[in-house]
Symmetry: C3
Subunit: 266 residues, 3 copies
């Protein structure tokens, strides 16, 4: 079995519990996606509870899109708690670069060494301080323009960095992997990117070592891309696409995922 298939099989076999601290727009789709892929979601934001739960859960997602000051305080406790417990955590730096509070927050959290960072190209550049970020949550930069910055982020933080776009690029120390799948309707469904961050966390929870993390991140992207290709066969508009895509996340076998998407190493 390939590493991608091993990861997806592992998630379904072990139902990792993913602690999600995410923005106000996407909790429901994030939870439904985690359930569909075989993981278990738990959204816990109160600082006192988040600090405890980050050490109990299998993995943690911190998505700095629209959140409250109270949630931000919780994130500042949960990231070090996850790190101290040896649990992988994922940073999704939504709209970082252009907005001051979340930009400072995301940069401050890097010291706790996320296992992965998932973002669009503008957010990767914004997190590193290389550009002012995108237009709200939209990328205004091309994926390839962020690869060198992603490489530097890996070197500085130890994280696998995944850049989302028509072709996703996963970057870590010495490796660059490109995953091509999905469909143009996918960015018209809110939360597909945010839920990908949560699924990356689920996949990292079943990685057996730090060396397996790169492939775990690739596996999450492969599953999302494959489901997008399947959904596009049956839908020409975003709401029907959303339903079919969520169904495909649940029903696709690991072997089907690998047949559907194109995964290339640079």
């Amino acid at each position: 079995m390939t590493r991608i298939a091993e990861t997806l099989t592992g998630v379904r076999a072990t139902t990792p519990l993913v602690h999600c601290m995410t923005n106000t727009v996407v909790p429901e789709i994030t939870a439904n996606v985690l359930l569909a892929v075989g993981a278990a979601p738990a959204m816990i934001d109160l600082p006192e509870e988040a600090e405890i739960f980050a050490g109990i859960a299998s993995a943690l997602l911190i998505n700095v899109g629209n959140g409250s000051a109270e949630q931000h305080a919780g994130m500042r406790l949960a990231a070090p708690a996850a790190a101290a417990a040896g649990k992988p955590w994922v940073l999704d730096p939504v709209a970082v670069g252009g907005l001051p509070v979340r930009t400072q927050l995301a940069r401050d959290l890097l010291v706790h060494r996320p296992a992965a960072i998932r973002a669009n190209a503008s957010e990767v550049l914004g997190l590193a301080g290389t550009s002012a970020g995108g237009r709200g949550v939209d990328a205004t930069d091309e994926v390839d323009a962020a690869v060198d910055t992603a490489r530097q982020l890996c070197a500085d933080t130890g994280a696998v960095v995944a850049i989302s776009g028509p072709t996703d690029v996963v970057v870590s120390d010495g490796r660059v992997t490109r995953v091509t799948g999905g469909h143009e309707l996918m960015p018209l469904v809110i939360g597909t990117g945010c839920a990908l961050g949560a699924t990356v966390a689920a996949c990292l929870a079943v990685a057996e070592s730090e060396a397996d993390r790169h492939d775990a991140v690739v596996a999450a992207h492969a599953l999302f891309g494959a489901a997008g290709l399947v959904a596009a066969r049956g839908a020409t508009a975003p709401a029907t696409f959303r339903t079919l895509w969520l169904d495909a996340l649940h029903t696709l076998t690991p072997a089907e995922v690998e047949e559907l998407v194109t995964v290339e190493e640079d």
Copy 2:
């Protein structure tokens, strides 16, 4: 007409206004479920407004899943306001037992005598202090393991206690009713349990006396189970299941609900 049919007919005839104070993940599905079953939702969390509205609405739901300190303050005002106005209120003790803030909150609220408590087995045990609760929002205990504790909660608080599982068990003074329906895809749709708590509140709003409350709680569970059976005929994956299930909540007649589910008294 049976008590179940009377309750479901009563909800559709009177459109009870259900004040929902719920977690960040499920407001949208909760509102859509209440509209589908014939009730009207209103989510109001600000303490000053929640205290007023709890006395105006037909019933109140307090779900202690992921919420803010501000919302918790509102819940501490709304529960006594509902009680003072003679309006039934429902407690959904999400993940109580393992997480300290919500566990204290839920236990403190019991003094205001909820009309019903709806939870999974681990949460019932966690609320009573009998166990440490489940794994996040997942039950790790079997329904039957919580029946004796549910009986004690009834005795202590006056609430009807409903334990959700493959077969739901509704417990009150001297009665134990088992409702079998639903489908294994239902727990893969986030919010079906939380929305059941809201529907219990809607059904309690049309109960004519405290003696009718047990049957009102059973009616909500019967409707949910019946809709799950109908949805499973047309779906093999969770997103399509969710759509068909919500549609069935709206279209099933009370007579069809009673034909579909199995309701047994111990």
Copy 3:
């Protein structure tokens, strides 16, 4: 091309960025609707970020349904920031009239001259202080009962006032336009009204002058009504209706919208 078609074409051609400060129930459907109609959503509530972003975005929506004190503080900064930057902003006074905090908030914000107010009849009356508002978020007044009050609100604030109902009525200085479309299942889908407020903001973003604002507001209502008519052809229950309606928002051409709905000037 008519003004309605020009507006809808303009939204799709320019992808206006709509800053949404909305209630806890509807962020996901609001974002999906904006994406479906060709706009781009960004939910940003933190006061420090909201004040900045309101001057950057193409338009701003302020929906005073269930929100936190922190979000309210952000709204009090964002409305004047949008006004100062010459960006149109829309007020959706959810349940205003009956609930004190949001009623004061909505009235205070009027001094910043919203480009449009979108509400049901009870909320229009509640905002103006003419009645106590509806029952939670439900209108208890007929649309026509609010037209005179809407006219006065226009005179006082400069806003186009849109009253939602079986026939929507759009009121501005010297004009009253009635838009008939939609379907009785539409109010059973939570957030269709709130998402209409966001779509009004998107349409206002492409209005070339204040004189064009009335028609921009009509265009948003026409699109929603047309999509409701299309969805009703394929659905008899609310969840399927919701999917088809969202799809239709994306696929209907401006010419089809105009053929489907009835638009009449008084």
